[in-house]
């Protein structure tokens, strides 16, 4: 279908009906980028575009799916967890987020962010390879082409929008036009709608282009032997090519080196441990120290406006089964203590290695509250503001034996920054749902 539709006939067939001046304009592009001879790179062509396209097809699909999973990980159907409550049918796939494997969110979100970052050089290469199409002349040739150009605006605008919002969010530069969750989630659907159509219309062309040259031969062709690809129906190949200054192999190598460099300078923030300092440019590549509490802090006590004034005389309020009771930290320490080895994994893609958390199992607290089989629990922090001062956890998260109200970490009391006097830690839970400075647990049927 695409082959037929992309060739010239439709426009030629439509041409006899268009007025003479329209035809004249179409045949006389103004000087500059609308003239085909303006684009002179000898390596621009369908094969190179198709290689970038294939990498993006696989990479963006993974980034999109891991993004969808991250939304599911917030359990948006519970309480006020949902930060995009008017999602409508876009939440069709949501499911009960599991607690096992405990490292799943750490993995999927690390992939989402790291892969997103390393795809940027590929995206830049792809957009470079097709830039002459932006200046197609005449700008509108047929209704089909007009629709496709609108779709391409959504594709390119959407791609840049999604990448930029994600990239600035992990660096705490909150310049979005609305909440990050709103813009990144709905922006993703606009983008993916255009992306899916683009794949549907172009995949056959991509396969044809990939088959038109041997990848191995390209990898053995140096600059001196680089020749332009044969003329193509999309007019990507320059009719007026300059002498090559880089081979196709070199261009792919440049993009690949870009992705590899970004990977090496970023991935340490998700692997952690000794590799963390290798993430020289990533937001969480710095090491805090070697003490029991010196692992990455999602949000400091200062940011949450918590000081020892708020935690002095702290008591936990426990609700459920129509009753309410309060427990001091000593009461909690006197209960059976359980240790779980779990990471902190943030939506921003960074994570820590497993930390040894010690505290009271949430299911023990549910039983104590008179709700041994709760449907959910509303966890509230003593912090007074902030998007994540409370979170609702599902039954499976309450009942997992490794789900704790942690009092200690790595054989020391929690530091204030890590949630002293008590914080929640649940396996496979996004970092912000492991509420710190917990003031109240409300178990609900």
């Amino acid at each position: 279908m695409t082959d037929q539709q992309d060739h010239a006939p439709p426009t030629d067939a439509a041409r006899p009906r268009s007025p003479r001046w329209v035809r004249w304009i179409g045949e006389h592009p103004p000087p500059g980028p609308t003239r085909r001879g303006f684009w002179r790179s000898p390596i621009r062509g369908p094969w190179l575009t198709a290689v970038f396209g294939l990498v993006l097809l696989i990479g963006i699909t993974i980034v999109f799916v891991t993004g969808l999973l991250s939304y599911a990980a917030y359990n948006p159907d519970l309480g006020s967890n949902d930060l995009t409550p008017d999602k409508g049918l876009l939440g069709f796939y949501l499911f009960h987020w599991p607690t096992q494997p405990y490292w799943l969110y750490r993995f999927t979100q690390g992939v989402h962010v790291t892969l997103g970052l390393i795809l940027v050089p590929v995206l830049l290469g792809k957009l470079w390879s097709v830039i002459p199409k932006l200046f197609d002349w005449p700008p509108v040739r047929s209704p089909a082409q007009f629709l496709e150009r609108i779709s391409l605006l959504l594709l390119v605008g959407g791609a840049v929008f999604e990448f930029v919002t994600g990239i600035v969010n992990i660096q705490y530069w909150y310049v979005f036009p609305a909440s990050f969750y709103t813009v990144h989630l709905y922006g993703a659907w606009i983008f993916i709608a255009a992306f899916a159509a683009h794949v549907a219309l172009k995949s056959r062309r991509m396969v044809t282009a990939l088959r038109s040259r041997s990848f191995r031969d390209e990898l053995h062709t140096d600059t001196a032997h680089t020749r332009p690809e044969p003329p193509d129906p999309d007019d990507l190949v320059s009719p007026n090519p300059a002498a090559p200054t880089i081979s196709r192999r070199g261009a792919l190598g440049l993009v690949g080196a870009g992705s590899l460099t970004v990977l090496l300078l970023t991935v340490g923030q998700s692997i952690g441990g000794a590799l963390r300092p290798t993430a020289l440019l990533a937001p969480r590549g710095q090491t805090l120290g070697h003490g029991p509490n010196d692992f990455q802090i999602n949000k400091t006590a200062e940011e949450a406006a918590i000081s020892t004034a708020e935690t002095d005389g702290w008591q936990l309020e426990l609700r459920g089964g129509g009753t309410s009771m309060t427990l001091t930290r000593d009461d909690l320490l006197a209960m059976p203590q359980h240790t779980a080895h779990l990471p902190i994994a943030c939506v921003e893609g960074w994570s820590t290695r497993n930390q040894a958390w010690t505290g009271v199992q949430l299911r023990d607290l549910a039983r104590l509250a008179g709700a041994p089989e709760p449907g959910s629990v509303l966890v509230e922090s003593i912090q007074t503001g902030g998007l994540f001062r409370s979170a609702t956890l599902r039954r499976n998260q309450v009942l997992d034996p490794d789900s704790l109200l942690a009092l200690r970490v790595n054989d020391a009391d929690l530091s204030l920054d890590h949630g002293y006097p008590a914080r929640v830690i649940v396996p496979n839970n996004p970092g912000v749902h492991n509420t710190k400075w917990v003031g109240r647990l409300d178990f609900q049927a």
Partner: protein, 160 residues
């Protein structure tokens, strides 16, 4: 019938169905996105395309063609000289991509918020970026030196 449709529309009917399905889904998502801040969203979405297609891409293209021009003006590379243009291009491009990705940290667009949120400082990032840039150009220089040496040797040897 089919021929007439294609003549008027400009493509196969499947093209139209694909476009309509895609635009309708995008519209559905847009109805949820846009009310949050209509002007801001429009500026961001269209601005994103413009920022890349009409600013970033022309900018790096002009820089690159300036380099190529300067390189060509020095005459066709004579053996045993190896073409040096890509030994400049590659580290420059890599350094620029790193700056593009991590500009908010490197240039401290949100240094205070970063510090308050994470308990760390953005001070090291500019230093790191400069050191990485130095390493990239250094490695490139090394690669070029090796290449020059090799081509000089090849040149010295009688071909056969």
């Amino acid at each position: 019938m089919m021929r007439r449709f294609r003549a008027r529309y400009g493509a196969h009917p499947l093209h139209l169905l694909t476009m309509l399905a895609s635009l309708a889904l995008a519209g559905y998502a847009a109805l949820k996105l846009v009310p949050a801040n209509p002007l801001g969203i429009a500026v961001w979405f269209i601005g994103a395309a413009i920022a890349h297609d009409l600013l970033l891409l022309p900018l790096y293209s002009v820089v690159d063609s300036g380099l190529v021009h300067a390189w060509r003006r020095r005459g066709a590379p004579e053996l045993p000289q190896a073409p040096w243009i890509n030994y400049l291009r590659v580290p420059l491009a890599l350094s620029a991509v790193l700056l593009l990705l991590y500009a908010p940290l490197i240039l401290q667009f949100a240094g205070h918020r970063y510090a308050v949120t994470t308990s760390m400082s953005t001070d090291p990032y500019l230093e790191h970026w400069l050191l990485i840039t130095a390493a990239l150009f250094g490695l490139s220089a090394l690669g070029y030196a090796v290449r020059l040496r090799r081509s000089r040797r090849q040149h010295a040897r009688p071909s056969g």
